[in-house]
């Protein structure tokens, strides 16, 4: 589904990604961990199409298509979803309006009919309830005045509505209290399926107690230095990152 080969990227001439290789197949959940500044969020941003990063080498294919040939919105319509680390507040743009516009853009791309208003609203309400959110959030501006936890729930709500093929979660767990973390994890787990891939970028092992990954990768200095199964996360929790940093330096 997603093939990242020797991906290199820089911002303002600083190399952030130094040759990442990663393959995600449908049905797999991958976690990328790493110390601050290792390039985790850059990887997520590059996949979603942020323009401030320059791709200096390598390739990414998504369902056989060259990802870098696709505009930001085309990636979304092809089924790539990024849950933002810092979801943007957009005052004046109704949350439910955005959800509807987004869902219909994706459906149109897939050759499906647009939702009718009634069906759409009942589906949204069901998902809102599942995410343990108040319906009034639907009628507020996108993320406007939401708390950190509410913003992250709103990201997962969008993901549940858009039903992406590949969800990239950029530090979705950071800043969440344990209750919010449980709800967010419930949302992500509900998305796990044979057809879908999930890539979680996280700084903390705690998230992985709730969403058990099939693979864990450790990113250091823009490179994956170690991969393993979920026990690698536990090892990191016990030992920290230093032993890997030392190994990398040696």
């Amino acid at each position: 589904m997603l093939e990242i080969k020797n991906l290199q990227a820089s911002i303002e001439n600083n190399k952030i990604l130094n040759g990442i290789n990663l393959s995600i197949k449908a049905g797999e959940v991958h976690a990328i961990m790493g110390p601050n500044g290792s390039g985790k969020s850059t990887l997520a941003s590059v996949l979603a199409g942020r323009t401030e990063y320059e791709i200096t080498g390598g390739s990414v294919t998504f369902n056989g298509k060259d990802l870098f040939d696709l505009e930001i919105e085309e990636r979304a319509r092809e089924g790539l979803f990024l849950a933002f680390q810092y979801p943007q507040e957009i005052p004046g743009v109704n949350n439910v309006y955005l959800l509807k516009a987004a869902v219909n853009a994706v459906r149109k791309h897939r050759g499906q009919d647009e939702f009718d208003a009634y069906d759409f609203l009942s589906l949204v309400k069901e998902k809102v309830k599942f995410m343990e959110m108040d319906e009034k959030f639907l009628h507020r501006g996108v993320n406007e005045g939401f708390s950190g936890g509410e913003k992250k729930r709103n990201e997962i709500l969008q993901m549940l509505m858009l039903e992406p093929q590949l969800a990239v979660l950029d530090e979705t767990d950071s800043g969440l209290d344990i209750d919010a973390l449980k709800v967010v994890s419930k949302g992500v787990n509900a998305m796990r399926s044979e057809e879908r891939g999930i890539l979680m970028v996280t700084h903390y092992q705690r998230l992985l107690d709730y969403i058990k990954p099939d693979f864990v990768h450790v990113l250091v200095n823009g490179k994956i230095v170690k991969s393993g199964d979920h026990t690698l996360a536990l090892e990191l929790e016990a030992k920290g990152y230093d032993w890997l940093l030392d190994a990398e330096a040696a």
Binding site: A48, G49, R50, E71, I72, E73, R75, A76, R77, F81, L82, F84, P87, Q88, I90, P91, G92, V93, Y97, L98, A101, A102, V103, A105, V106, H109, G141, V142, Q158, L162
Partner: protein, 413 residues
């Protein structure tokens, strides 16, 4: 004397000649009209050297092709903005009143007499004097009690190359309330100059909402003024939407005269092509314990230009005033331009006043967010522009007008 020779020099310039010639074609001008013309010519038509007019030239608006309206023909328009209104509507077509208002507590009459608000010399500027010199019929709207129904006044103009001065004087009695929608339109190719003045005398404890929609044809010039006197405990909500015209200058002057009075202002300057939209807003807090809050937004595309000058004055004894003036501007094209100057002039020492202005393009991060959800770039831009613009009228105007504005401005609902 030097002053008189200066006046003579002023009179020789084109625009002054145009106006004095035009005035000569009035058959029986009243003393009031003659005085207004004298004042007008003494002050002279503003030029780009006049500080308050430095970004807006009147060269095209006052041209020697102008004539006065001498006919009352023209078809009564049915403007789409008014289609959904379940309200009392009157049309003022080429200066002539058609229809009547039959709401208890609201009386609309025509008068030859102009009543100036006449205080603090805030009604002696170029637009005031031009309006009074050339006004034929003054509409007097008296509000005497609480009125639930909307009052809609539609000014429409169809006569080419003409100068027309409409005047609406609203007097709101003590404890009265009303919502008044004033719509200004003209035929699209109409190269005329309109000089509408609206005055409001808001009695003690009255609540008046005035919604002024300027959707003139793209060749029409407007030189407008709205002037309000707010007495004790009155509330004046003024929503000003500048959408059409080739050039629209609108002076808004509010004298807050009574304790407990409050002014709330929302303004949208929506410019496209080569439009020039100029608002000068002056709010005078003359007494203590008064409030004002003003939000002015400009959305300028193509080669359009916006001008905003806003000033809050707080007099020396006007303690405990709470005033806020914000101007936010969105430039959608590299050729669009905004000249903005929010100002405070405060002589009291115990007040809370804020002002600010921003100028920018669409927020890149918001655009990225919307696109990452599948909206294409154009749709995402439109969503952001509509959110910005709508904040000037959503919740402030009747919902049918919200819908019409959305459609008029091309926003999806």
């Amino acid at each position: 004397m030097t002053t008189s020779s200066n006046n003579l020099a002023v009179m020789k310039t084109g625009a002054n000649l145009v106006l004095s010639d035009l005035f000569n074609s009035i058959k029986l001008p009243s003393e009031q009209q003659k005085n207004a013309l004298t004042n007008l010519l003494e002050q002279g038509v503003p030029t780009l050297r006049t500080e308050r007019w430095r970004y807006t030239t009147l060269r095209k608006a006052i041209s020697n092709q102008l004539k006065l309206v001498d006919t009352t023909t023209g078809e009564l328009p049915q403007h789409p903005a008014l289609a959904g209104f379940d309200a009392e509507k009157v049309t003022i077509l080429n200066g002539q009143l058609h229809g009547a208002i039959s709401i208890t507590g609201a009386e609309l009459n025509i008068s030859n007499d102009v009543s100036k608000l006449d205080s603090h010399k805030h009604d002696d500027g170029f637009i005031d004097n031009t309006n009074i010199a050339f006004v034929e019929n003054t509409l007097k709207l008296d509000i005497s009690k609480n009125i639930e129904q909307l009052i809609v006044l539609h000014f429409h103009h169809t006569i080419a190359s003409s100068l027309l001065a409409n005047r609406l004087e609203i007097v709101a009695a003590r404890n009265s309330s009303a919502t008044i929608v004033v719509l200004h339109t003209s035929d699209n190719d109409l190269n005329s100059t309109l000089v509408p003045v609206t005055t409001l005398n808001a009695g003690a404890n009255s609540q008046i909402t005035l919604i002024n929609v300027q959707d003139l044809g793209s060749h029409t010039f407007q030189l407008a003024k709205t002037h309000a006197h707010l007495n004790a405990d009155s509330l004046f909500k003024f929503t000003q939407l500048e959408i059409g015209s080739q050039l629209s200058r609108h002076d808004v002057v509010v004298d807050v005269l009574g304790k407990g009075a409050e002014f709330v202002h929302s303004n949208l300057l929506h410019g496209t092509e080569k439009q020039v939209l100029d608002t000068h807003l002056d709010v005078y807090h003359h007494v203590d314990h008064t409030q004002s809050s003003m939000g002015v937004k400009a959305v300028l595309d193509d080669k359009s230009r916006g001008i905003f000058n806003g000033k809050i004055y707080v007099e020396v004894d006007a303690q405990q005033v709470n005033a806020d003036l914000q101007n936010n501007n969105l430039l959608l094209s590299k050729f669009a331009e905004i000249n903005t100057k929010p100002e405070l002039e405060i002589y009291a020492d115990d007040v809370k006043c804020a002002h600010g202005a921003t100028v920018g393009q669409l927020n890149e991060e918001s655009l990225f967010y919307l696109r990452s959800r599948g909206l294409d770039k154009e749709a995402a831009e439109k969503v952001l522009v509509s959110a910005f613009s709508r904040s000037t009228y959503y919740g402030l105007v009747p919902s049918v007008l919200e819908e019409w504005l959305d459609a008029r401005l091309g926003f999806e609902s």
